[in-house]
Symmetry: C3
Subunit: 357 residues, 3 copies
């Protein structure tokens, strides 16, 4: 490997090609209005998109940016109800979901940075570790004894894989990740910078006047196609295992306690915390900063609102919110009642007084 070729975090790559507005319309299945020969080479947000860019408008909040004078006009993916928004564009493509349509366009304009493989000379590989085919190990990576790194996996600078831990094929650890011993990552798992997988859980028994540490010998199992954001922490099990199911996505700064089990295809947003031994089903959505106490069961397809404080089991398919969390409709009703109450309180007190209560 050539020094520097893959130093640092992955680049998003360079503009890879040129499309015409007609190409874009065909790609996204939208209705072309304007100059089909207008060329685009990159995407840009609507407030700075200019000639040569493709951008999108799906929310009236951003419509005013279109009117701002700029050097030439971009090609605009636009939802039907905003299609007539005034402003200078080279061409417009009317499509139901402009933001999703951008997903079709992006890979045509941006190629992922070429993923160099190779083992940096500074990477440290412990005895008995098995390194797959076409693996990338970046500068100062540390692979523990007996660890397994699957084919085409990428371990970026400074990441540490503990003794005996396993990283599945095509997984990608960004810089500064720690995988403790006892952890297993499936295939195509992405772990962003600074996340800690498999650290000891918070478990003590108060004996002899001290908090005696409970040894943690359970595992931490991350299934295929999971993505984990930056600076998130997932503890290993104490005796049981901690498990994150296939295709679940976890945001930044999330805490998953020991012995938790999270199902498939769930979404867990930033700063959520799960205390120990809580089970979350498949297809759940847990919004930002929600907290779940320990030993709960959250059914498949449940949704928990932002900042919800969940102290009991939640049936599958239901949406709960608030503190303490209840069904979302009940929480909304309680919240509305509270703000109404504060306007009625003086009258209620007068009424009680009038009735000698």
């Amino acid at each position: 490997m050539i020094l520097g070729e893959s130093n640092g975090t992955t680049s998003s790559g360079e503009g890879a090609s040129t499309l015409t507005a007609a190409d874009v319309a065909a790609l996204v299945g939208g209705e072309l209005r304007g100059d089909g020969s207008a060329e685009v080479r990159s995407v840009a947000p609507i407030d700075r998109a200019a000639a040569g860019d493709v951008t999108f408008l799906a929310n009236a909040r951003y419509a005013r940016f279109l009117a701002e004078p700029r050097d030439g006009g971009p090609v605009l993916l636009v939802s039907p109800e905003l299609a007539e928004t005034p402003g200078g564009t080279a061409a417009r493509i009317v499509v139901g979901k402009p933001q999703e349509a951008m997903l079709e366009v992006l890979p045509r304009l941006y190629r992922p940075a070429s993923l160099a493989s190779g083992i940096d000379p500074t990477a440290r590989i412990g005895h008995g570790a098995r390194i797959g085919r076409a693996v990338y190990l970046g500068p100062f990576v540390v692979i523990g004894e007996g660890a397994v790194i699957g084919d085409e996996a990428r371990v970026e600078a400074h990441s540490v894989v503990g003794a005996g831990a396993q990283i599945g094929a095509r997984s990608h650890l960004y810089p500064h990740v720690t995988i403790y011993s006892g952890s297993t990552l499936g295939e195509r798992v992405i772990v962003h910078s600074g996340s800690r997988i498999g650290s000891d859980g918070f478990g003590y028994v108060f004996r002899g006047g001290v908090h005696e540490k409970i040894p943690h010998v359970g595992r931490c199992i991350i299934s295929n196609d999971v993505e984990i954001g930056a600076n998130t922490t997932i503890d290993r099990g104490s005796i049981d295992d901690t498990v994150v199911g296939v295709g679940t996505k976890i945001d930044n700064l999330v805490q998953i306690g020991h012995n938790c089990r999270i199902g498939k295809l769930s979404l867990i947003m930033a700063q959520v915390g799960l205390a120990g031994s809580t089970w979350v089903g498949d297809g759940c959505i847990i919004a930002g900063q929600a907290g779940l106490s320990g030993h709960l069961t959250i059914g498949d397809g449940a949704r928990l609102g932002a900042q919800a404080g969940v102290f009991g089991d939640v049936p599958g398919g239901e949406t709960w919110s608030g503190y303490p969390a209840r069904k979302h409709s009940e929480s909304l009703r309680a919240s509305a009642a509270l703000f109404k109450l504060s306007t009625l309180m003086k009258r209620i007190e007068k009424l009680l007084k009038d009735h000698g209560l």
Copy 2:
């Protein structure tokens, strides 16, 4: 030191020996029922424990797992009220607190990974640093000028100890820990991966149209037998010191602001935040995601509920919860009243109207 011998995070070690059910019963002081000669070599959670494993059952939630067919039966530590739970076991040991009893068994089956000592050739040691006896410094560790590392301390891969900082004997820094200058760790302190000890607090004075930074020259003092979870941040004092008392345990992703003082043997759970200059007494428990504003005093033995928003002092021994936090009994009563209110609101409004209010 042999390359690779201690790369990566500490393993939990291998099954170290074999015990019989009778051995286990004697060890935990429990009542043996069944085959005292049944052998165990490892622990496992109840949902996958089989012949050769010891497991436990202390919560009816998990009883159903015992009935699942499996290859042979484990030795089961079980609480008296669940002792008759149906299911296949090689032997049962009835004991008051099965989970605590497991703590007696674990060290007999798992030996801590042999802790190699030695200084990795890639470790960087600053001028005037003092390294104790039988210390382990892992790959790419950086020890600043004049820092002190106590006997038998372990500093794992990539951790950074700032100039002049002190790490007490037998302390253990997992990979990627940062100890800023001005920090002192006592003996047997454990710091999990990615925690930052002694960073500057959040202090500014608005002057001359900018937020002018308050220099931080106070210290950050972590006492003996403290454990700190992963990705936690503890700021140094501005002029005063930040202090964490003996035997206190802090979970993952916790924020401790500048000038905070936490007493002995307290427990601070994941994602808790303490603003600056708040003092927490001895033996307190602060549950997950609770937040404490600045300059508060929390008395000895106080307990704060999960997500509590604490804006005032809490007397010793009391339990507070909710937002804004009040005595737990008051918070519960208020919460119950609120949900009842939402069902009464229409009638209350009618009553007020009937009375011309």
Copy 3:
């Protein structure tokens, strides 16, 4: 560079000189009472300040510490209303804002550690990276291809700067920082240990039975004079950019989602979370653990209380708090009404019953 000269995190430096009480009084514009020739060489908190120290008293909570016997007396900066607090001092200096006054004194007693420049031999610099004048790159630093490091910037041990990222002049990255590709830091930016700048946002489209990842090609732009605490995460934009404005200060463990735009001179305290595409104005204050949902607009000068759950736009200049957040005065009134309600509930129920409701 001499090995070890700059290993580890920056020290606060040593006591640099000696001042007399008269010098201090002149420096802060205060009224000297007592021995103007008393010498000070360091600052200390009031509970352990002794002869040779300068300390301050601005809050009656700390007054009792002044009375404790100690070896000699410190020089005390004290607010007018506490000027007569009993206790042994070598001299007192009465001044309106003693804590701010300390800011004048600190730089006279503490010089910043001498900031060695130089590139550690273990630092890795990618092809085409441009390294400015008098830069410090610490041990095991990784600079990606084509990255730009401005003059006099300091990149401490283990930090990683992604391919093409830019770090402005005199900026300071503490150890273990990750700057992803696509990020640009202005001048004099400080990033504390473990923060992650420019990681992918949390964006997926559910298609074909999986959560399909939205590519992130937007940038992450951190303006001049921003300070970012430890273990904070700031995501890059998806197509739009994430922007933090000039002079804004961000505390530890904060989450800033993709496409957020934060204005100038705002303060964002620990563990705050901003979901994606939320815009925060200039001069805002967001207190600890507050959470903001996505696509909101927070006006200039708005203040959000600790743990506020903000689900709607907040007009400039207003203070909001609570969950769901409302104007602070309304939240206080609702909270007061709730606690009063819980004491009235039985009587209200009797009244309704008496009226057949």
